[in-house]
């Protein structure tokens, strides 16, 4: 038991110091993804099964590249938030949860940066 009155605890917003900001960021990303998913998926669906030069041509187009980069950034942040919610709900124990949350951040950052880097390299004609 901590020597803290209920009022002090409420005013201090608990040990996390925030809470609604994560919720708000997840919704912001979700709204941004509504147009981004459509803009990203059309050139992608056209690309699957096409030959190398055709697909390179699609992603050398600055608009397709820009959409793909924005999509990778937004989707990986959305995925990190979503997986974090699932981990917090289902993974028990402080050590296991900390490891899972770290792995989540590393995984989503790795995939996101790989996607952005790949598209940028193609778009810049490398």
């Amino acid at each position: 038991m901590r020597y803290q009155t209920d009022r002090q605890r409420v005013e201090g917003l608990g040990s996390a110091k925030d809470g609604t900001v994560e919720w708000w960021k997840q919704r912001l990303g979700a709204v941004a993804l509504i147009p981004l998913v459509f803009l990203f998926i059309f050139p992608l669906l056209r690309s699957i099964g096409a030959d190398f030069d055709t697909v390179r041509g699609i992603y050398e187009n600055p608009l397709n590249a820009l959409v793909a980069i924005l999509f990778f950034i937004t989707i990986m942040s959305h995925l990190r938030q979503g997986l974090q919610e699932v981990i917090v709900d289902y993974v028990h124990g402080k050590a296991a949860m900390t490891i899972a949350l770290l792995a989540n951040t590393m995984f989503t950052t790795l995939i996101g940066v790989t996607g952005v880097f790949s598209v940028a390299k193609i778009a810049f004609g490398g």
Partner: protein, 131 residues
């Protein structure tokens, strides 16, 4: 006095206690599709990386994506994306405080399921070059 009995309180009944309901099934499907698409985006990112490296590597990634197993994963992923997309919009309406009553929630759930199938079919047709 709120610290009394911390950590030794009765738990709410676990999920398996309840008879599965339509809205419950949709809710867990939203999570499953979300987590599952982590694999889809990993595969697609690998394909983009291969495209950035060279033609020989791209041929490998392309062969995997267009194989029977790859194609199956892509179609399931397309449905997962369509479902998560539609149900995500349903969640955004709820967040705005709209459509929270039970009859509307059931109906919007049906709309989400129908919409996910329609979007999947449209997606496949786009991939096949019909549109």
């Amino acid at each position: 006095m709120a610290d009394v009995n911390r950590g030794n309180r009765p738990l709410s009944p676990h999920l398996s206690i309840y008879r599965p309901l339509w809205t419950m099934v949709l809710s867990i499907t939203h999570r499953i599709t979300g987590v599952g698409m982590a694999l889809s985006i990993t595969m697609i990112t690998w394909w983009f990386l291969a495209l950035a490296i060279n033609e020989a590597y791209f041929e490998v990634a392309n062969a995997v994506m267009t194989s029977v197993v790859g194609g199956f994963i892509l179609i399931v992923s397309l449905w997962a994306l369509s479902f998560h997309f539609c149900n995500g919009i349903r969640h955004l309406f709820w967040d705005a405080g709209k459509g929270l009553d039970l009859p509307t929630a059931y109906k919007s759930g049906l709309a989400v399921m129908a919409g996910s199938v329609v979007l999947t079919v449209i997606g496949i047709l786009v991939a096949k070059g019909v549109f």
